[in-house]
């Protein structure tokens, strides 16, 4: 009972907090809200820009900071670690990560640990390690943290996870802009885009939208066919293979005759 009252009070105070900060709202623009994956798709650059709408004058005190995050669809993955057994390196321990985004970029107007308090990061899951949800490793693995770190290290290396500090330009505490680079190896889905306004490390406003990433044209058609008519797709692949093999053989015969 006490716990319920406490939870209720927390809820009320949180609601009050959001009400209190709602006087600074985000008006957002995207250079495009839809990314089409065509056959010659080679990554994409999205310009995210916006303005802060407010009724009152700019509050004094800590300057306004902006954090932009873009997250691809999440999937469960397994991180494995190799160990030397009987002289050869084999996968031994494995940790399942429940939800890891297929793409995640954090852009901020200053160093992330200065523009965002740890407790706010925990609440809104903004930084890269917080965006990954891991419920827990098997009990025999003591250092499960190192698996999540490895995941972030590997994906940062291939620019699937990005942390770009100081990449959001904020002008006059009113206008902001940044550009997010989407890599060529992109999966389909809704890319959740969030904008956070912070003052003194506390989130004072946020806005959320989605960028739609999807295959179009031939890519779309082949993908659909492979999922919905796998047998026809498989036979088509074989037919193309046989035709190409025969074509090359015939072409070379002609070349030799001439």
């Amino acid at each position: 009972m006490v716990r319920q009252i406490f939870a209720f009070l927390t809820f009320v105070s949180l609601s009050l907090a959001t009400l209190a900060v709602a006087d600074e709202a985000v008006v957002l623009g995207l250079s495009k809200d839809r990314v089409s994956i065509t056959t010659n798709f080679d990554g994409s650059e999205i310009l995210i820009f916006g303005a802060i709408k407010r009724e009152d004058p700019i509050p004094s005190g800590d300057p306004l900071q902006v954090i932009v995050t873009v997250a691809g669809p999440s999937t469960p993955i397994t991180v494995r670690r190799k160990e030397k057994r009987l002289g050869i390196w084999v996968n031994t321990d494995a940790v399942e990560v429940d939800q890891a985004p297929s793409f995640y970029a954090v852009h901020s107007s200053g160093p992330l640990n200065e523009v965002l308090k740890n407790v706010e990061d925990l609440r809104h899951k903004i930084s890269v390690p917080r965006a990954i949800r891991s419920v827990g490793a098997p009990s025999h693995i003591a250092d499960s943290m190192s698996f999540t770190e490895a995941l972030i290290r590997i994906r940062k290396g291939s620019e699937i996870y990005q942390l770009n500090e100081n990449s959001v330009v904020v002008e006059e505490q009113t206008l902001f802009r940044t550009s997010v680079r989407l890599p060529a190896a992109l999966t389909e889905g809704d890319y959740r885009t969030r904008i956070f306004l912070t003052r003194g490390g506390t989130v004072v406003g946020q806005y959320e939208t989605t960028i739609d990433v999807e295959k179009v044209g031939l890519e779309r058609w082949l993908y659909e066919l492979s999922r919905q008519q796998p047998l026809i797709y498989g036979l088509m692949s074989l037919a193309i293979a046989i035709a190409a093999g025969w074509g090359a053989s015939a072409a070379f015969r002609l070349l030799r005759l001439s």
Binding site: V79, R80, A185, I240, G245
Partner: protein, 304 residues
């Protein structure tokens, strides 16, 4: 020129794929191996997801083998009768292999098993062929006649059949067993099995090297065609765009390879294949023995 692959969901350079296809195609035509044991690791290396690489590779092998077989058929260096017998064994073996593969997958560590399989088989076959071809070349140089084919226990088995193109009169049991074994290994290792089939035909069945290549390609077409359909309908991992790029390079390469192969002597052909097999084996063995630069790897979680 970058191309986005619809199933693999990665973007790769089209010319790189054409080139890879071409090189592997030349080897395929020369030696009668599908080239899967070379191409699959190469595809992993350029960032294609393993499941897509294995399945698409099977489709590409169909094309280069078909192209190669047509060239061999014109030269009448395909033993269709022997090929059919091997194929019957091969399909049975492949079905059995898939069952074994799924069982091992449930036990975990299937990656390690596949790699160990590669190292052991490539190592044994490569060294045997290398030593034997060296001896053959030395014998020809010193003017000694090649040793006559020995009559061994294989010739005592029942159900004898005449294989006119190969010039053999042997029991159908050894080819059937060879077919089954190669089929099992092919399914587990995700390749056509040519690099095992070719030496098995030469050394176990005593077929002439020139006939071996075409016959091996002939049966590889069917085994890999079967595998492609299986992958396309169960795992949805055949990437047709990737396959087309690889096979355009591959079929052209196979035609060139077949012509090079005809010009080379049988011993030279065998020693080259032996060296190639040993190199791949060495590379895989090093991967297992040396400490990897990244101890962790990311994999998709299997559905429960």
């Amino acid at each position: 020129m970058q191309i986005y692959l619809p199933i693999a969901e990665v973007s790769v350079n089209a010319f790189l794929l054409l080139g890879l296809g071409g090189i592997v195609g030349v080897l395929s035509g020369m030696f009668g191996v599908g080239g899967g044991f070379l191409m699959t690791p190469l595809l992993f290396f350029i960032g294609i997801p393993p499941a897509v690489a294995v399945a698409t590779e099977a489709n590409q092998i169909v094309a280069s083998s078909f192209s190669g077989v047509l060239a061999h058929l014109k030269r009448k260096t395909v033993d269709l009768k022997m090929g059919t017998v091997l194929l019957i064994g091969g399909l049975a073996g492949a079905a059995l292999g898939v069952v074994i593969f799924n069982y091992l997958k449930a036990q975990g560590q299937v990656d390690l098993l596949v790699k160990l399989c590669y190292v052991v088989f490539l190592g044994i076959i490569g060294s045997l062929m290398f030593v034997e071809s060296l001896r053959a070349i030395r014998n020809t140089k010193s003017g000694k006649p090649p040793p006559r084919k020995k009559h061994n226990w294989i010739h005592g088995l029942p159900f004898k059949m005449r294989f006119r193109v190969s010039g053999l009169y042997i029991s159908v049991i050894p080819p059937l067993i060879v077919g089954v074994c190669v089929g099992i290994l092919a399914a587990i290792m995700g390749v056509g099995g040519g690099f095992i089939m070719v030496p098995a035909m030469i050394y176990l069945l005593g077929m002439p090297t020139k006939v071996v290549v075409g016959t091996s390609l002939f049966q590889i077409i069917f085994v890999t065609g079967f595998t492609t359909l299986l992958h396309a309908t169960t795992n949805f991992t055949v990437d047709i765009v990737l396959a087309v790029l690889l096979l355009v390079g591959g079929v052209i390469g196979a035609q060139i390879g077949t012509r090079i192969g005809v010009k080379l002597k049988a011993e030279q052909l065998r020693i080259l294949l032996a060296i190639m097999v040993l190199v791949v084996c060495g590379k895989l063995a090093l991967d297992l023995l040396l400490m990897p630069s990244e101890l962790y790897s990311i994999g998709a979680t299997e559905g429960h």
